[in-house]
């Protein structure tokens, strides 16, 4: 064992350098690489080999560093993403290719993907889609839908970068290079060395009373710095995201309301916290309910919410009951979906330090200002004493809007005066983060003899979990959207959000709309079949057109383009129907089917103000700074907002330096949710750019067409004249701030009004192949047509679509969170690289009335049609219709059997 390092150390070659680092030899290599060897490009997503984010090369072979004992790496050659890029020609070209294809969105899986891909590129394996999938199958990605990653690996031999450009140009992500070179810093990557660690003590039962033992003795005996309980919360021990619904305690007070709810937290040095014996708490399990059905008669979770109903939503137009009674063709059905986990590969993480009388919190968040205000409330501090500095966000689809680790580090740092960190384990993340609402929907659709929709009735019950979170938003949004983007003259939609003893259901890409689309779009297929009308034609016949009222009575003069989306699918639809017929004629055991579905989604808050503000300035040295507070969670706001701003100002994107997001440095650009950033912050950026341009042109006294040149100073070129504008001052020599708030109106008692200024629409079709004997579904192809108004960056549009489709596939085929049963990423399944088929994105640009350069939001829209399109394809292939998701092999097989 001559290679052995000194006692308590491990030595290896890391990215070309011989290093010896202090480490326990039984520790996970991932932890040693991150904490002792500084290789923070090695990401930890699950600590169980389920996600592959920690993939490194050991002696050339990719392995998950979380399952390697540090001592096993003694003497080994270890390579990580950050070391490969810059040292290995394969990795260099791959990084370029990842940038060129925008194969990194949030970037948290990128190290694992790239390291696994380098091993493939170094081998003499021929590069095909199949070999790329086999090589990368061990790394999960929740953002991209994998297609751009596959494309990037297949294209890794070229090295040409993407060009520059303003609005409409497919430029590379402005924040992309750190992600593909291993220097990006996420929630757990920025905590100061030596920070104290917080670990929450969580309820093992869905509902329990609890009693603490001698906490002071436990703290003293084990050398902890602090133990936190509800009594330590200095402000109001309640947080939430909707005014009037702040109902969640940071630490439970008398009893817990869901499995995983924290009752206390220990704070101490990392080594001490890691080795603590059992915490002195005794639990008394109490009767609990986990479904809305059982909750109605159960003990109240919140005293002021009778029947455990948190809130209801309602929209009515015309007379649905009598129109339904008159309709010659009516279909109806019950449909349900389960809890869906966000499954971002970066678990929740935060660190905090006290700076004088202020708290500074670094965290992965989608909503820095809301986080700031929530922390201020818990801490009993004015909001300006709290600073939130968002790190890179390793995936966020709604759940990182809510407070998770932030309150713990804030309170511990405040009380100890020391820096404090907290990172959720995957199990904690699954137990305690918000989920997509499980839904139970009864729906009825009636049409006339010509297949024109006469009436729709919708009744949806949503399991909102133990606390409100974004549940009220889901309850309000669903009745507005449950008609789909279809002309529905008579409509009645009720929604009810019910508390149960489960993790809070909150915001998740689509806010309840995907669940209602599962019901509506399947019923549309049933109705079309009943009437003998082609299913795409049936939808085209019922498209909501410009000039026609939505179910809330809103009329669009421009920008309602579902007809164009469905129309764009027509060639692929006709071809797919013919292909499926030919395939099915030649095959017995497997059958193919094609499905179609639409979706729509209103961008921004529902009938509520949600402004964004953008600030920009030019320094005396001619540097152009954009204070961009719209958190980029991988969707691309850093790039899109800059493209819009640069276009409005009239400068190349490369002239802009980004600042933020940071609640001290950037104005409030609102939360990254509800598909609002491109539309709302984009408008603020456009106004800001225009305002700044007007100021500059005035200063130079030049015409409106003058060209702005920032070349260490500010020069304006107006035809043959060139004007140098003097810049002076310590701050900004020239500065502009602009805001935008979309025009909406409140809804009346029947839900009538203008809930959103902008709706985006989408239609997707899916070709699926079902193994009749096994009930397994293999997706062959997805075609997705999306009206984005105007594609600010078409490559980012494709990335959003592909990622949304992948999540829709998961919703349709495999995902269901069961509290206490699927609390890891091998029992809770999300799609792998082998589960997402080729996706063709057809971009429709209807030009929106309100959006910047006509652009609309897109994030949620991508996911909404996917699951019903998949289910409709399964039904077309087999005749079996899946009402209760996910359509796992056993359910599909059961439905096929039931036909016989």
């Amino acid at each position: 064992m001559s290679l052995d390092a000194p006692q308590g150390h491990v030595g290896f070659t890391l990215n070309g350098d011989a290093v010896t680092v202090p480490a326990s030899r039984t520790a996970r290599l991932s932890e040693v690489l991150r904490k002792s060897a500084g290789a923070r490009d090695v990401k930890v997503g699950c600590n169980a080999g389920d996600c592959g984010a920690c993939t490194v090369l050991i002696d050339g072979a990719p392995v998950c560093a979380c399952m390697v004992a540090a001592g096993q790496a003694q003497g080994a050659v270890i390579e990580t993403q950050a070391g490969l890029v810059g040292r290995d020609p394969h990795a260099d070209r791959l990084a370029q290719s990842f940038q060129r294809h925008q194969a990194a969105q949030c970037g948290i899986c990128t190290p694992g993907m790239m390291v696994a891909a380098v091993a493939l590129l170094r081998s003499d394996t021929p590069l095909t889609e199949a070999t790329v999938k086999d090589a990368l199958g061990g790394v999960l990605c929740r953002c991209t839908g994998y297609r751009k990653i596959i494309a990037a690996v297949l294209d890794a031999s070229r090295s040409a970068p993407l060009g520059e450009g303003g609005v409409g140009a497919p430029i590379a992500r402005l924040d992309g290079w750190p992600k593909v070179s291993g220097t990006e810093r996420f929630g757990d990557d920025v905590a100061p060395d030596g920070a104290l660690v917080v670990r929450a003590i969580r309820s093992p039962f869905h509902r329990a009373a609890f009693r603490f033992g001698d906490l002071d003795a436990y703290r003293a005996d084990h050398g902890l710095d602090l133990i936190l309980t509800a009594a330590d919360v200095p402000g109001r021990n309640r947080f939430g995201v909707i005014p009037g619904f702040e109902d969640q305690p940071m630490l439970a007070e008398h009893e817990t309301r869901f499995r995983g709810e924290p009752v206390a937290a220990v704070v101490g040095r990392a080594g001490i916290v890691a080795a603590l014996p059992e915490f002195p708490v005794t639990w008394q399990e109490l009767p609990s309910v986990i479904t809305p059905r059982d909750a109605v008669d159960a003990d109240l979770l919140h005293d002021d919410r009778s029947d455990n109903v948190m809130c209801r939503g309602y929209v009515a137009r015309g007379d649905a009951a009598s129109a339904m009674a008159r309709a010659p063709h009516v279909v109806s059905g019950d449909f349900s979906t389960g809890f869906i986990e966000h499954g971002y590969i970066e678990p929740e993480a935060a660190s905090a330090r006290r700076v004088g009388d202020r708290l500074e919190i670094h965290c992965c968040t989608q909503a820095p200002f809301m986080n700031r205000d929530g922390i201020a409330g818990l801490m009993g501090l004015p909001a300006d004493q709290v600073r939130i500095v968002p790190t890179a966000v390793g995936g966020g689809f709604g759940s990182k809007l809510d407070l998770t680790a932030q309150p713990f580090v804030a309170l511990a740092a405040w009380l100890t005066g020391k820096p404090v960190r907290m990172t959720f384990t995957r199990t904690e993340s699954l137990q305690a983060s918000t989920k997509r609402h499980p839904s139970e929907v009864h729906m009825q659709v009636g049409a006339d003899e010509d297949g024109r929709i006469q009436a729709v009735r919708f009744d949806g019950v949503f399991n909102t979990g133990a606390y409100a979170s974004w549940g009220p938003t889901v309850a309000n949004r669903v009745p507005i959207h449950a008609s789909g983007p279809y002309r529905t003259p008579n409509y009645s939609a009720h929604s009810t959000a019910v508390h149960t003893n489960t993790a809070a259901a909150g915001a998740f890409r689509g806010f309840g709309v995907p669940q209602s689309a599962v019901a509506l779009e399947q019923l549309y297929d049933m109705l079309a079949d009943k009437l003998g009308i082609d299913r795409l034609e049936f939808r085209l016949r019922n498209c909501l057109l410009n000039g026609e009222p939505t179910v809330t009575g809103q009329v669009f003069d421009r920008g309602m383009a579902i007809d164009a989306c469905l129309g764009a699918l027509k060639p692929a639809w006709d071809a797919a129907l013919a292909d499926c017929a030919a395939f099915n004629a030649a095959h017995d055991g497997v059958k193919r089917g094609v499905g179609v579905a639409s979706g729509w989604y209103g961008c921004g808050n529902t009938s509520m103000s949600n402004p964004s503000t953008i600030r920009a300035g030019i320094t005396a040295g001619g540097a152009l700074m954009l204070h961009q507070g719209a958190v980029d969670i991988g969707q691309g706001s850093n790039t899109v907002i800059t493209q819009i701003f640069a276009q409005a100002l009239g400068v190349p994107v490369s002239a802009v330096t980004l600042i933020g997001a940071d609640t001290d440095l950037t104005p409030d650009a609102g939360k990254t949710s509800a598909s609002r950033q491109t539309f709302i912050t984009g408008n603020a950026a456009k106004r800001c750019g225009e305002t700044l341009r007007a100021q500059i042109l005035r200063l130079g006294n030049v015409g409106g067409d003058a060209v702005i040149s920032l070349d260490g100073g500010l020069t304006l070129i107006d035809g043959a004249t060139s004007v140098r504008v003097p810049l002076a001052g310590d701050g900004y020599a020239i500065e502009a701030v602009a805001s935008y708030d979309p025009p909406t109106t409140p809804l009346d008692e029947n839900g009538q009004g203008v809930p959103y200024a902008v709706f985006g629409t989408a239609a997707q079709m899916c070709v699926a192949e079902v193994d009749l004997a096994l009930g397994t579904t293999r997706l062959i192809r997805i075609v997705a047509a999306h009206d984005v108004g105007k594609a600010i960056n078409p490559l980012l549009v494709e990335g959003q679509v592909e990622g949304g489709v992948a999540q829709g596939i998961g919703l349709a085929l495999m995902e269901e969170f069961l509290p206490g049963r699927t609390e890891n990423l091998h029992d809770y399944l999300i799609p792998t690289i082998g589960d997402v088929p080729p996706i063709d994105t057809l971009i429709v640009e209807s030009g929106d009335m309100h959006g910047p350069y006509g652009a609309k939001g897109l994030g949620e829209h991508c996911l909404i049609p996917t699951a019903p399109a998949v289910l409709n394809a399964i039904a077309h292939a087999t005749g079996a219709r899946i009402h209760h998701l996910p359509a796992t092999p056993d359910k599909v097989r059961r439905a096929i059997r039931a036909l016989i």
Binding site: A70, L813, L818, G834, T888
Partner: protein, 274 residues
């Protein structure tokens, strides 16, 4: 916090006589910790001479216990091993195949262990070493139940022995997604044929009973069958060895039904002309 990395079996056995825990590829041990601290004393078995690699051994084959699934995949093996190779390809992911060992898969004794059905169908025996010497146990007798094996305290699974036989293997894994998936059910078959008829079929099923099982009744019934007759024979067979359960992955009823389809396909795959 010690990790011993002995080169010699005798040293490993001596180290394991205390409270130390055996470590192979770590792909079950570390996830099994569920974020808790690792055991303070571990013995890494992957560097012991003779525990790694596959070689001819008398009239059969010897797979060293610490052989990784990637090594199984890359080994030059006859068609008899096609099922084992297929299983190797379906173990988790490339990362897990590079680290995880054959012995680890068996000793972990999961009802859904990917390696079990293929090795059962190959009539594998395991070689167990201790201070007292080595013994051989049929694989079917080695795993007793979920997380239960015949491994005595301090004993090491040093090798898997596979007798030579005629025939071709096949393996099918059924899961709810493509990669990184725990089986709903899996089937391994090794079939020897002569003139288009089955001379001997060996069929094992995993994830449908506490321990993967051979289907003795079916194997007898399949003797003499042509490829066209396989489906009817499988349909008529009761599969009494299996006792599938309902879990998060599938229902028991579904497993019972799906496994028949898988058996037909696996046996048929071995009989297809190559």
């Amino acid at each position: 916090m010690t990790l011993h990395r002995p080169d010699r079996l005798a040293d490993a056995l001596a180290l394991l006589a205390g409270d130390a825990v055996a470590l192979g590829g770590g792909t079950d041990l570390y996830p099994g910790l569920r974020d808790a601290a690792p055991p303070p004393h571990m013995v890494d078995l992957t560097r012991i001479a003779g525990l790694r690699g596959i070689r001819r051994d008398g009239t059969g084959w010897r797979i060293g216990g610490a052989t990784t699934w990637t090594q199984v995949l890359k080994a030059d093996l006859p068609p008899l091993f096609d099922g084992l190779r297929g299983a190797a390809r379906e173990v988790g992911s490339v990362q897990i195949q590079n680290a995880g060992t054959v012995a680890g898969n068996l000793c972990n004794a999961s009802p859904a262990a990917d390696g079990m059905p293929a090795l059962l169908a190959l009539d594998a025996t395991v070689e167990l070493a201790s201070d007292a010497g080595t013994r051989r146990v049929a694989l079917a007798d080695f795993v007793h139940g979920p997380r239960l094996t015949a491994l005595a305290r301090g004993e090491i699974l040093t090798a898997i022995h596979i007798p030579d036989a005629a025939g071709r293997g096949a393996f099918l894994k059924l899961g709810a997604r493509r990669y990184l998936v725990i089986s709903i059910a899996m089937v391994a078959a090794v079939v020897a044929t002569q003139a288009g008829r089955i001379v001997r079929a060996r069929v094992a099923v995993g994830a449908c009973s506490p321990v993967a099982r051979r289907l003795a009744g079916l194997e007898t019934a399949l003797a003499g069958a042509t490829a066209d007759e396989v489906s009817a024979i499988v349909s008529a067979c009761a599969f009494t060895e299996l006792s599938p359960i309902d879990d998060v992955r599938a229902s028991a009823d579904y497993r019972s039904e799906a496994v028949k389809a898988l058996v037909v396909r696996a046996v048929s795959a071995t009989m297809e002309a190559k």
